[in-house]
């Protein structure tokens, strides 16, 4: 524990500066609120949309294939489906 005692003695106590950020904070919040939501264009959301579209397209292709084969060979392929 000696290294900790050395550190505690050596590290100066932090002196908080006398600051006022109220106006800056309120300005930033107002700016953020007036901007279109960043979440709408977030990379994660875009990736999600792309994946969902890809999955939907895949399902649509499968359905179309089944429909076509059912049309060509109504009994056999419908039973298999």
């Amino acid at each position: 524990m000696n290294e900790l005692n050395w550190l505690k003695d050596a590290v100066p106590n932090p002196i908080p500066p006398d600051i006022d950020v109220t106006d800056d904070v309120m300005r930033t919040i107002r700016t953020r609120q007036s901007e279109p939501s960043a979440a709408l264009f977030s990379p994660r959301l875009l990736l999600g949309v792309a994946l969902a579209s890809w999955a939907l397209a895949g399902v649509a292709v499968l359905i179309a294939q089944q429909a076509v084969s059912a049309f060509q060979n109504p009994l056999g392929d419908l039973l298999r489906f």
Partner: protein, 217 residues
């Protein structure tokens, strides 16, 4: 905001009060002040949620000295502290929905401040590393030499050498003297992780001190 202090009870404060009486009165006044602050915070949080933006201004005014004190642990540069306090309040506003109101707002803000400060250490370290990499590509630059004479500067230099995780564990547990439970809550880690991190950090600190030839026994 009105506050009850020992001077309200005894305006002249020249009364010869025994130490223990003063202690009790001070404790009473502290409890009363924090209750009043908690009530004001709850009112203002409800107002902000109801769309009153100005209520948030009151929250910032009330808590910025505490948050500035917290942020002074993460940087000694005035402009950086100002930026960190700003970022903390903006983040708090954006996540105000997650504040449940069961703990004082100050605790919740302190948690956000600790994580904002920790992120600052991580960014600062990454930037420093990038600069050092660039310098080492272009010249035979070395890391800045440790300050030889000033103990405080040397201590800050050694803390800078620790990883942000190590530094946070040491700061919360040993420099601020918080309990494991409290430190873990502030850092957002489990108590086990914090204890392991603090143990490793102590080992690294000891090695750093030995490397610098500092007698810490």
């Amino acid at each position: 905001m009105n506050s009850i202090s020992i001077e309200n009870f005894f305006p002249a404060t020249q009364l010869p009060l025994p130490g223990w009486v003063r202690g009790i009165l001070l404790a009473m006044s502290d409890a009363s002040n924090s209750q009043m602050q908690h009530d004001a915070d709850q009112r203002d949080v409800a107002a902000v949620r109801g769309g009153d933006g100005e209520a948030y201004r009151r929250i910032v005014r009330r808590h910025q000295p505490t948050i500035a004190r917290r942020m002074a642990r993460f940087s000694r540069d005035r402009a950086t502290v100002e930026e960190l306090v700003h970022d903390c309040f903006v983040e708090a506003y954006l996540s105000l929905r997650s504040y449940r109101g069961d703990a004082p707002l100050e605790h919740w803000l302190t948690k956000i401040a600790t994580r904002t400060g920790y992120r600052h250490w991580k960014t600062e370290r990454r930037d420093r590393k990038r600069i050092l990499d660039l310098q080492s590509n272009h010249s035979s630059a070395r890391m800045a030499a440790p300050p030889a004479e000033d103990t405080a500067e040397l201590a800050m230099y050694l803390l800078d050498q620790l990883s942000p995780r190590d530094r946070l564990a040491i700061t919360l547990l040993h420099l601020e003297g918080r309990s494991v439970a409290e430190a873990a809550e502030l850092a957002g880690w489990s108590q086990t992780l914090l204890k392991v991190q603090a143990y490793r950090a102590r080992k690294k600190l000891r090695a750093l001190l030995e490397r610098q030839g500092i007698d810490h026994e």
